[in-house]
């Protein structure tokens, strides 16, 4: 199953090291392939450096694309994390 959804970065500092760590941690143990697309760049969300490379600021749009059996579940968790501003 392949799903994709757009989310907005809501925390003030954007996707810096802490949120990126949270994302990678959240994805640990899951199987599906997860990609973030920001502007024209698509990166593997499991790699912290790739996520950091996006240097996404507050309010920027990120398209999450997930392919795999547990896609729906992962998408829910990721969207929640973005919505909760990664606890910031």
């Amino acid at each position: 199953m392949k799903i994709s959804r757009k989310v907005r970065v809501k925390n003030a500092l954007g996707l810096h090291t802490r949120p990126a760590t949270a994302i990678v941690k959240l994805l640990q143990g899951t199987k599906a392939s997860v990609f973030f697309t920001h502007k024209s760049e698509t990166v593997n969300a499991r790699s912290i450096m790739s996520v950091l490379m996006l240097a996404a600021t507050k309010n920027s749009l990120i398209t999450i694309t997930i392919e795999g059996e547990d896609a729906q579940e992962i998408m829910g968790k990721l969207v929640d994390a973005f919505e909760a501003r990664f606890g910031e």
């Binding site: 990166v43 790699s47 912290i48 450096m49 490379m53 240097a55």
Partner: protein, 324 residues
């Protein structure tokens, strides 16, 4: 979309471009990766005039315009300065005629002056624009240079790409980038990889964190870009999979339409990945030099077998002769 501003910002200095008019048009897009000298069009022949290309005025164009009467000059210039035109460059330190300056300013077409001789500018600009328009992709992997060969290490997350690269650096090879590799086709024939500016020369190692390789190991251990000569895919060892044992069949992978030698390298405890990658690289170099170990061995083997068979045949023949 690539526009004049991008070109000016990135290549303006090396090309010696100086903006003299039409600043408001810097956001014009460049739709074709070509440059054009408008000689014939300037003389009035406008059939199939390339109005989407950057125009370059050299000595001839400037002289010709000067020789024309003022009204005619304006008329001819107006006919080639179309709304789609990305930019105009006057090369070879020539002073653009005042009408050109005024028209460009009025129409918002960026007008540049360049110090470089017209032919040099033409060649360099053609190469630069072509490279900017060449296909590009981003892939997950690590790019290192070993013995002068560019190796793109691919594989799933946490298979040990970064650790392998670290081992390579420790052995005196170079890191180009880790995790995100930007690949571009160069001259339509080969691939070049580089890393994004922000994470250049940085690596993330599980259990340590983010390290700066250039600072840790010195400038000698890094470089900004490198041609990709081979792709090595690291994979968890799978007992049910058959791995290449001889190396006679050469495998290739396709990246942006370019064929690159491809090796699948199974990883398991006890297999020194760094040493294995080094061996693949050395073997690749040997092949480039015209020596293929596997083929050479195969030829030798076939030769030995046929010699043996011949000897057997000869023996049998002798035997039957002596009997009769």
């Amino acid at each position: 979309m690539y526009n004049v501003d991008d070109l000016y910002e990135k290549h303006g200095k090396p090309l010696g471009l100086e903006l003299v008019a039409g600043k408001s048009g810097l956001s014009r897009s460049i739709k074709l990766p070509e440059v054009h000298r408008p000689g014939v069009a300037l003389s009035g022949y406008l059939k199939s005039f390339a109005n989407k290309r950057i125009l370059i005025f050299g000595n001839v164009e400037t002289q010709y315009l000067k020789d024309l009467k003022k009204e005619e000059r304006i008329r001819r210039l107006k006919s080639i300065l179309t709304p789609q035109l990305p930019a105009v460059i006057v090369a070879g330190r020539f002073q653009p005629v005042s009408e050109l300056l005024a028209l460009c300013e009025k129409m918002g077409i960026p007008l540049f002056r360049a110090k470089m001789a017209t032919m040099n500018l033409l060649t360099r600009l053609t190469i630069i624009i072509n490279e900017e328009f060449s296909p590009l992709m981003t892939c997950h992997g690590t790019l290192v240079e070993a013995f002068g060969v560019g190796v793109l290490i691919q594989g799933d997350s946490s298979v040990g790409k970064s650790e392998a690269a670290l081992g390579m650096i420790e052995r005196g090879h170079r890191l180009i980038c880790d995790d995100v590799v930007r690949i571009r086709v160069r001259e339509g024939t080969y691939l070049e990889g580089s890393g994004p500016e922000l994470t250049r020369h940085l690596m993330e190692i599980r259990g340590i964190g983010i390290i700066n390789v250039a600072h840790l190991y010195g400038a000698v251990c890094v470089r900004d870009d490198k041609r990709i000569d081979i792709v090595v895919k690291l994979e968890e060892w799978d007992d049910h999979r058959f791995y290449d044992r001889i190396g006679l069949d050469e495998k290739y992978c396709d990246l942006l339409g370019i064929k690159v030698p491809y090796h699948v390298l199974p990883v398991k405890p006890g297999r020194d990945v760094v040493l294995l990658i080094e061996t693949i690289v050395l073997n690749h170099r040997l092949k480039e030099m015209g020596y293929n170990s596997a083929k050479e061995f195969n030829t030798k083997l076939l030769d030995t077998i046929s010699k043996k068979q011949n000897a057997k045949k000869l023996k049998n023949e002798n035997l039957s002769q002596s009997k009769s």
